[in-house]
Symmetry: none
Subunit: 93 residues, 2 copies
């Protein structure tokens, strides 16, 4: 049950095999799985993430696009991007 898990530092140079927005998506996904942000709760805003990660707004949005496609998050206009409750087809936990 996803508690306090270690997440590697954000280092775009250490991930130079892939694109920034993909590495970004992976990193945010790790943090979600590590429980940094709980299901139903919002992530920091796009601008905040942009500053935190030191990447452009468009890059953050691309990363969030990826996470949205993966079904990890949902984005509501003027609200924010929320961690999607993981669908457990039958089991609770």
């Amino acid at each position: 049950m996803a508690g306090e898990v270690e997440v590697p530092e954000w280092d775009p140079d250490a991930t130079r095999v892939v694109y920034v927005y993909e590495a970004l998506a992976d990193h945010i996904a790790l943090r979600i799985e590590a429980g940094h942000w709980k299901p139903g709760n919002p992530l920091p805003g796009e601008r905040a993430l942009s500053e935190e990660y030191g990447v452009a707004l468009g890059t953050i949005r691309r990363g969030l696009d990826v996470l949205r496609e993966r079904g990890l998050v949902v984005t509501l206009k003027s609200k924010g991007t929320l961690v999607k409750p993981q669908e457990s087809p039958s089991g609770q936990e």
Copy 2:
């Protein structure tokens, strides 16, 4: 006066005598003249056109450069590229 006019399909391979951005400019010009986009109204965004035509952003921008030089459109930052009202200094046609 410019109603529903037929515009050939976009086919970069059928126009291989010139550059893509020129064929692109010609094609968009045809659509404007055919009334697909009205004077004063915006064209689809550069990114949208990029996807629609299946060409890179830079290529779209080059094509729009051409149309701007021809006086067919005007581009406003953060707004879009608008069809310029055709200047009929005195004559109609």
